[in-house]
C-alpha cells in the first residue's frame, strides 16, 4: 500500500523588523501555528526538518540547527536534519519531508524556516576571499551579471525588470500580512537607486525577521484533519555547483533541468499551472525562471511580463502574496504556504480563481541550487 504525501498545516509569524524576538522565538511561533492550523498536537509531530536562514545557517557556519530547535520544541523525532541550500532550502525540506513520510520514516513532519537578520545579526560582512579583492560583494552583484547577460542577449529592458517589481508590489497590496503594501509605478521603479547596475534597489528582495512552517503528512493521516489536504504531486532538484566555469551559468538556471522532472512526476506541463510561486530574490530570477520552466520561450520573458501578465488578474499570476519582493523574506517557505492557501481557496482578495495546481520554486547561493515542488488541490487527493 503506497503512501502519498500531503501538506496538512501551514503557519507563519509576521514579517519585518521584529525587535526583541530571536529566530528561535519566531520558529517556535510558526511551528505552533502550523500544528494548530492542521488541528494536530505537538505530540503528533515525529519528524523535524529545518532551513536555517542566511544569518543562522550560511553566515554562522553549518550548525546543528535542527538539534537546537528540536530541543526547544521538546521533540524526539524519528527523522530530522537541516538543509543548507540557500534559497532552495525550504522547498527542498518540504520535498524531503514528502520522501520521508512516503517511505514511512515518519508520519507528521514539521518543516521550519526562520531567521532574524534585522534584529539579531551581527555587523554587515563585506565578504572575504579572492573575489572580494575585486569588490565582488553580495548576491546583488552576482545577479547583476545574469541581468546584464539577459539584456545583452535578448534585448531585455529595464522596464521589463520593473514589471516584475511592480507586479510583486501590486500583489503585496492585497496581502494583509505583507511587509510592503504600497504599490509602485514604473516611474518609482526607474527612479529607484541603482545598486549594482543593471539592478536597482527595487529589483532586490526585502530583508526580514520571521519564520514559516509547513506540516507534511500522509493522505490517510490528513483525511480527518481541519484543513483540506494539499497533495505534493511532484518535486525535483537540480544544481549547478561549478558556477563560473559552467558554460551556461548566468544564462540558464538549473530549473530547466528539474522543472520538467517535477512537472513530469505530477503528470502536468507548465501550461497546466494555475499559479506560480517563483523564488524572487531579484527580479531577473523571475524572468529566468519563466523561461526555464517553460512558461515562455528562452529569451522572451521580458515581453512576456509586459501588460501585467504576472500581476493580479493576469493570465499567469506569479507570487500572489507578493513574494520576497513584497510579502517578506521567508526563505521560500512563504512561497510554499501561499501555494497551499491558493489551492485551499482561502487566499481572500488575492485568490486566483479556481486554482487547481501550483508550482513552487527555490533558488539559492551563487545561483547554484534549485528545487521545485508541484502541488495540486484537494480534488487531486
Amino acid at each position: 500500500m503506497s503512501r502519498h504525501a500531503v501538506i496538512a498545516g501551514v503557519g507563519h509569524t509576521e514579517f519585518g523588523k521584529l525587535a526583541g524576538r530571536t529566530a528561535w522565538h519566531l520558529e517556535a511561533e510558526a511551528a505552533a501555528a502550523a500544528v494548530s492550523d492542521a488541528g494536530l498536537q505537538p505530540a503528533d509531530v515525529d519528524g523535524l526538518l529545518t532551513d536555517p536562514g542566511p544569518s543562522q545557517g550560511i553566515l554562522q557556519g553549518i550548525t546543528p540547527h535542527f538539534l537546537r530547535l528540536g530541543a526547544q520544541l521538546g521533540l524526539d523525532p524519528d527523522y530530522t536534519g537541516s538543509e543548507i541550500l540557500g534559497g532552495a532550502g525550504s522547498v527542498a525540506i518540504v520535498a524531503r519531508a514528502a520522501l520521508a513520510v512516503e517511505a514511512g520514516l515518519c508520519d507528521v513532519c514539521l518543516c521550519v524556516y526562520g531567521d532574524s537578520p534585522l534584529s539579531n545579526a551581527g555587523s554587515f560582512e563585506y565578504g572575504r576571499g579572492d573575489e572580494a579583492a575585486f569588490g565582488f560583494f553580495g548576491a546583488v552583484g552576482l545577479h547583476a551579471l545574469a541581468a546584464q547577460r539577459h539584456m545583452h542577449r535578448h534585448g531585455t529592458r529595464a522596464e521589463q525588470l520593473g514589471e516584475v517589481a511592480i507586479a510583486a508590489r501590486a500583489h503585496g497590496a492585497r496581502t494583509p500580512h505583507a511587509q510592503k503594501r504600497q504599490p509602485i509605478s514604473m516611474q518609482d521603479y526607474l527612479a529607484s537607486d541603482s545598486l549594482v547596475e543593471p539592478l536597482r534597489k527595487l529589483d532586490c528582495c526585502l530583508v526580514s525577521d520571521g519564520a514559516a512552517a509547513v506540516l507534511v503528512t500522509t493522505r490517510e493521516r490528513a483525511a480527518d484533519l481541519r484543513a483540506p489536504a494539499i497533495p505534493i504531486l511532484g518535486h525535483a532538484q537540480a544544481h549547478s555547483l561549478s558556477t563560473y566555469t559552467s558554460p551556461n551559468h548566468f544564462d540558464t538556471l538549473p530549473a530547466a533541468r528539474c522543472g520538467p522532472k517535477a512537472l513530469g512526476h505530477a503528470g502536468l506541463s507548465a501550461s497546466d499551472i494555475d499559479v506560480a510561486l517563483l523564488y524572487d530574490c531579484f527580479t531577473i530570477v523571475v524572468l529566468l525562471q519563466l523561461e526555464d520552466y517553460g512558461f515562455c520561450k528562452k529569451g522572451e520573458s521580458g515581453p512576456f511580463v509586459e501588460g501585467g501578465r504576472i500581476g493580479p488578474g493576469g493570465s499567469l499570476p506569479v507570487n500572489p502574496s507578493g513574494g520576497l519582493l513584497a510579502e517578506g523574506y521567508g526563505g521560500g517557505m512563504l512561497h510554499v504556504i501561499e501555494a497551499v492557501r491558493q489551492l485551499r481557496h482561502e487566499a481572500g482578495e488575492r485568490q486566483v480563481k479556481g486554482a487547481q495546481s501550483a508550482l513552487v520554486s527555490g533558488h539559492g547561493l551563487g545561483m547554484n541550487t534549485h528545487a521545485t515542488l508541484v502541488l495540486g488541490s484537494h480534488a487531486h487527493v
Binding site: Y126, D193, V196, P198
Partner: protein, 139 residues
Amino acid sequence: MSEVQPPVPEPDALSAPFWEACRNGALEFSACDDCGHYFLPAGPCCPDCWSPCMSSRAASGRGHVFSFAVYRRTYHPGMPAPYVVALIELEEGPRLISNVVGCAPEEVAIDMPVQLRFEPAGDFMLPRFAPVGDEKETS
C-alpha cells in the same frame, strides 16, 4: 588618520601558487595533463576528468568580457563606487572574476576585448583587465 584598506585575497594551499605567479607578472591557469582541459580556479583535480595530474600555463592576457556589473553603491569603505566587476573569459577558455579598468564604466560592454594589467593591492598583484589598446602602464 587611518584609511580603510580594501579586502585582499586570502590564499589557501590551492590558490597560493596562483597569487605567487601574479606577483611575478603571470596569470596562470591549470592544464590537465590527461585530457587537456584548461581551468580556473586551481583545484585538487581536473573538473572534467578528475585526474590529479595538472600543470600550470601562463595566460596570454587576452580575453573578453563575458558579463559585468557596475557597482554604483559603495559596499566597502576601501572600495569606493563606481567600479566595474566583470567575469572575464580568457582566450584560452578559463574564466575569472576581475575588474575592468582604464575606461569609464559606461564604455564597458559584453564581448569587449580586454587585456591583462596587473595592479598592486597590499602585498598582492591583482590581475585586472583594460580595453585592448589602453596602453597605460602600471607601476
